[in-house]
């Protein structure tokens, strides 16, 4: 780390030490001195367009823009002097020249920087006698955003969000000077999966969300800190409810380590399900062919009676549980505790990608990459992953890292938003991703640059593999480029998608990737190394809480039970008589697993806890209506292993109950002495009993969550190279990189790459 140079200056007579290279605004902010801004946004480079941040700087002939002026030794700045105040007032007057002052009908009114600063720094009357600019109201820029051009002050934040952050087609400035306005390329509406962010960074009421238009006034809103549940990134959101009842919007709750202040549209606008008419509102019990409404007491009695009967008749091994990956850690922990402890079965699983030959206990230790860590990586390798589609906010972080000089390598199918940024692409079919990794590993070994590979058997198998690769084709050249980058990069992040190992051909992808990370010296490095891009907001939580037949909470040893596919009838009929389903829809996966739906028809008891009538719920004997994430407390563990807290924004909808409460009631009726009922207590129990969550508590998770201790304390030098990494790798003659292979050629053709 280079030593930080400090600069001494004074602001409003207060002696301040700022870091060299900071602007006056940044130094002032660090010192707690407020300077208004419009065009400047802390996540983007300074622009100096709006001039509202003008301050007096001694020995300069005129006021300076605090957002663009770098601090210097001995600088004397005044933000409250007559010169500064006059400058700000003047700018304010100019900004308001064309502004319609229609605050009473503006969505932004009440949380508007223009309104606030006009009160603070403007005059009570305007001097502008001329006609203001008149333009049509609420121009629909695209499916999500409406633009009021009269209100716009041309700060360009939204335009630069497109050019600096998303680095793709977005909003632009049309025309010039007094006639300029925000718009899009002719005939192209503003369609971007990050579009909602422009409404949040717009300092005035020019850009507003079409979904929130005229829905509420800011002062009626209750803001509840929460975490988005639409993908595994776990962006921090604020659930805004009107009068504490109706969810009207999600806003970003900036967490630099996770979302960097941005939300994707899927997350921002994905709140409709919470108060959907389709939500289940009463327990249902099967009577013949139909599910009929019942009371909670009837439903519980039914479940417990049947469960005990089945247990008595067939034994506890005839009972199983499948959980979803949207439930909280507390619910998942309770679910497995109920099944393992009270029912006495290890038939517990959820849908997740395969880890191949990686032992359970090694799983958390090898996944050390963090989202923020991407910014420290010199090379980012996407391994059969498409964050643009599945973890959108990761795309923005990758682009930020690339802007700062990192390089990108893409192994696998084309990614529209990122292809053009890639230094090298190995456009293989998804089923060839592991083969591509293997080829790179073999080349590293051949070059003699592979680190940490100690076993002769492994080296020999890699050399053998290398010799069987055809070195003469175009793709071989790309493997060489990738290996060259890997050899040259100090810190590398490999991101793979959790489902890629499930694609035929990638059976041991995670282990191969771990070997590659080891060979490049990246395994276990804090912040970089391997990152698993998982499916849902709590996919990691489900693993961590032991919702698998292979290991218990914290990857602890346990007797093996039936797996997901086995419970659903992978070997003919399901061996189960009773199946409890917590917020999952396994029936929707039957086809994908190559199973017919008949396998589960002989279940005597199928209990489903769900928000909506899913395919699985339709076949259930009992359906219990549960509460959404906005109606309960708890924690989620995101794709980088960060444990984050959610809080209830509204009461559970009438007739529904949080899953934890349902599980606790079941546990009580099964004879457990339930002492802990709230999420906090449950989480403390998890932290107490699970090594992986040791030291975490509701009190120290705070607003930004915490990485699991393991990741926080990851130290490459302490890493023991486990034996399983030294095993000889699987020979893959059938998927050779660079040999004539119809699938591969198709992939190359599809990606438009000539094989020259």
């Amino acid at each position: 780390m280079a030593e930080v140079e400090y600069v001494n200056l004074s602001i409003n007579g207060q002696a301040i030490q700022g870091r060299k290279g900071q602007t006056i605004w940044q130094a002032a902010k660090d010192a707690g001195i407020f300077i208004p801004i419009y065009c400047y946004h802390p996540k983007m480079p300074p622009l100096g367009a709006c001039r509202i941040c003008l301050v007096e700087v001694e020995k300069t002939p005129k006021p300076q823009a605090a957002c663009t002026t770098a601090i210097a030794e001995g600088m004397v700045v005044r933000t409250e002097s007559i010169i500064a105040e006059k400058a700000r007032g003047g700018v304010m007057e100019f900004l308001l020249i064309n502004h319609p002052l229609d605050c009473p009908i503006c969505d932004k009114g009440g949380e508007c920087d223009l309104q606030n600063y006009a009160v603070d720094f403007g005059q009570s009357t305007g001097r502008f006698q001329e006609e203001k600019r008149h333009l049509g109201k609420a121009l629909e820029l695209g499916p999500t955003i409406a633009l009021d051009r009269e209100r716009c002050i041309m700060c360009q934040r939204c335009v630069r969000f497109g050019s600096e952050i998303v680095q793709d087609e977005g909003l632009i400035i049309l025309e010039r000077g007094a006639e300029s306005e925000i718009g899009t390329f002719p005939g192209k509406p503003y369609i971007s999966q990050f579009s909602g962010n422009v409404t949040e960074i717009c300092p005035v009421g020019a850009l507003t969300s079409r979904t929130y238009r005229f829905k509420a006034r800011p002062w009626e809103l209750k803001h509840t800190p929460s975490v988005c549940t639409h993908c595994s990134v776990g962006c921090n959101i604020e659930v805004d409810t009107r009068l504490g009842r109706e969810v009207v919007r999600f806003m970003s709750r900036t967490n630099d380590a996770v979302d960097d202040g941005w939300l994707c549209d899927k997350g921002r606008y994905g709140y409709g399900f919470i108060q959907s008419e389709q939500r289940l509102r009463t327990p249902l019990i099967r009577k013949g062919a139909s599910l009929v409404p019942a009371t909670w007491a009837e439903a519980f009695d039914f479940i417990i009676t049947r469960l005990n009967e089945i247990k008595g008749q067939y034994g506890s091994q005839a009972i199983g549980g499948i959980a979803g990956t949207h439930s909280t850690n507390e619910e998942l922990y309770l679910f497995q505790k109920l099944l393992r402890g009270l029912v006495g079965t290890n038939n517990i699983d959820h849908k997740h990608g395969s880890f191949g030959s990686v032992p359970g206990a090694a799983i958390p230790a090898i996944h050390t990459a963090t989202i923020e860590g991407l910014e420290t990586a010199k090379l980012i390798v996407l391994v059969g992953a498409n964050p643009s589609a599945r973890q959108p906010i990761v795309e923005l972080r990758i682009k930020k890292a690339l802007k700062a000089g990192a390089k990108l390598a893409i192994i696998g199918p084309s990614i529209k938003a990122l292809d053009r940024f890639a230094a090298v692409r190995l456009p293989v079919a998804l089923g060839q991703v592991e083969a591509a990794l293997h080829a790179s590993l073999a080349l590293l070994s051949k070059n003699g640059t592979a680190k940490g590979l100690q076993s002769e058997a492994l080296k020999n198998s890699l050399n053998e593999a290398y010799n069987s690769y055809d070195a003469g084709t175009g793709l071989s050249a790309e493997v060489q480029t990738l290996v060259g980058l890997l050899e040259g990069a100090e810190r590398v992040t490999f991101l793979y998608d959790e489902l890629t190992p499930d694609v035929k051909g990638n059976q041991d992808l995670v282990a191969t990737l771990a070997r590659l990370a080891l060979a490049t010296g990246q395994l276990g490095l804090p912040g970089v190394g391997i990152g698993r891009l998982v499916e849902d907001n709590n996919s990691w939580g489900a693993l961590d809480m032991g919702i698998t037949p292979a290991f218990g909470p914290g990857y602890s040893q346990t007797t093996a039970g039936l797996s997901y596919a086995e419970m659903l009838g992978a070997n003919g009929q399901t061996p189960l008589k009773a199946l409890l389903v917590l917020g999952a829809n396994p029936v929707s996966h039957l086809q994908e697993l190559g199973l017919s739906g008949d396998a589960i028809t002989n279940l005597e008891l199928l209990v489903v806890q769900e928000l909506f009538m899913s395919e699985t719920a339709e076949r259930a004997h009992v359906v219990l209506p549960s509460a959404s994430f906005a109606e309960k407390d708890g924690t989620f563990t995101n794709t980088e292993g960060r444990v984050q807290q959610i809080a209830a924004a509204i009461q559970p909808l009438q007739g529904t109950a949080p899953d934890a409460a349902i599980l606790l009631e079941l546990a009580g009726r099964l004879g457990a002495d339930v002492k802990t009922r709230n999420s906090q207590g449950l989480f403390e129990e998890i932290a107490r009993t699970t090594q992986l969550y040791k030291g975490l508590s509701f009190n120290n998770l705070g607003q930004e969550g915490m990485l699991r201790p393991l990741e926080r304390e990851a130290q490459a030098e302490n890493l023991q190279i486990p034996d399983w990494l030294q095993n000889a790798t699987r020979p893959q003659p059938e998927v050779l990189i660079g040999t004539a292979n119809a699938e591969l050629e198709q992939a190359l053709e599809a990606s438009g790459k000539a094989q020259s």
Partner: protein
């Protein structure tokens, strides 16, 4: 707004860069260390082909220069010398910058439009003439000034403009062309 949609329709019709134009741009780009720097002269080449800058060729140009389509549109709408819509065979560009403004260019423009019976940037029915405003032509000593296509006219008074417009209405070649 309606007016804007009409314009968009014209700009959005099927236009395509010719092979010659593409080649010219490819050659031009070679002269710059970074291809995006070639955007201004490249747009002039595009305009030379169509007489204005249509939508589809902007996208083609963006692709050639490795920049975003939106960036091209921003440049095209920023500078007045790029025509966003078709212009007449003779394009009369009257300066409205400060010197010409002080010497009556506003009145001159209004006078011309009235004489021609068109709106600003609108082509006369016979396709012969259109009048636009233009930024400073660097002939302030002879304000108000204008250009007919690429030829300068100095100290233009309303009566002279009438004469110019009348001549242009029937002209086959630019009568003011100076070789």
């Amino acid at each position: 707004m309606i007016e804007k949609m009409d314009k968009l329709e014209i700009r959005s019709q099927e236009y395509k860069l010719s092979e010659a134009t593409r080649q010219e741009i490819v050659e031009l780009v070679k002269k710059y260390p970074s291809s995006r720097s070639a955007i201004l002269p490249a747009l002039h080449i595009v305009q030379a082909q169509f007489g204005f800058v249509p939508v589809e060729p902007m996208a083609e140009l963006a692709e050639m220069l490795g920049i975003l389509k939106g960036d091209v549109e921003q440049v095209v709408t920023f500078y007045r010398m790029y025509n966003q819509n078709p212009v007449g065979k003779f394009h009369v560009k009257i300066c409205d910058s400060i010197s010409c403004y002080l010497r009556g260019s506003d009145e001159l423009i209004q006078h011309g439009l009235q004489r021609l019976g068109t709106r600003l940037n609108e082509v006369s029915g016979d396709g012969q003439v259109s009048i636009s405003k233009i930024e400073c032509l660097a002939a302030c000593g002879a304000a108000p000034c204008l250009q007919v296509n690429d030829e300068y006219m100095y100290n233009v008074q309303p009566e002279q403009l009438d004469e110019i417009l009348d001549t242009l209405k029937t002209a086959k070649e630019n009568p003011y062309y100076i070789p």
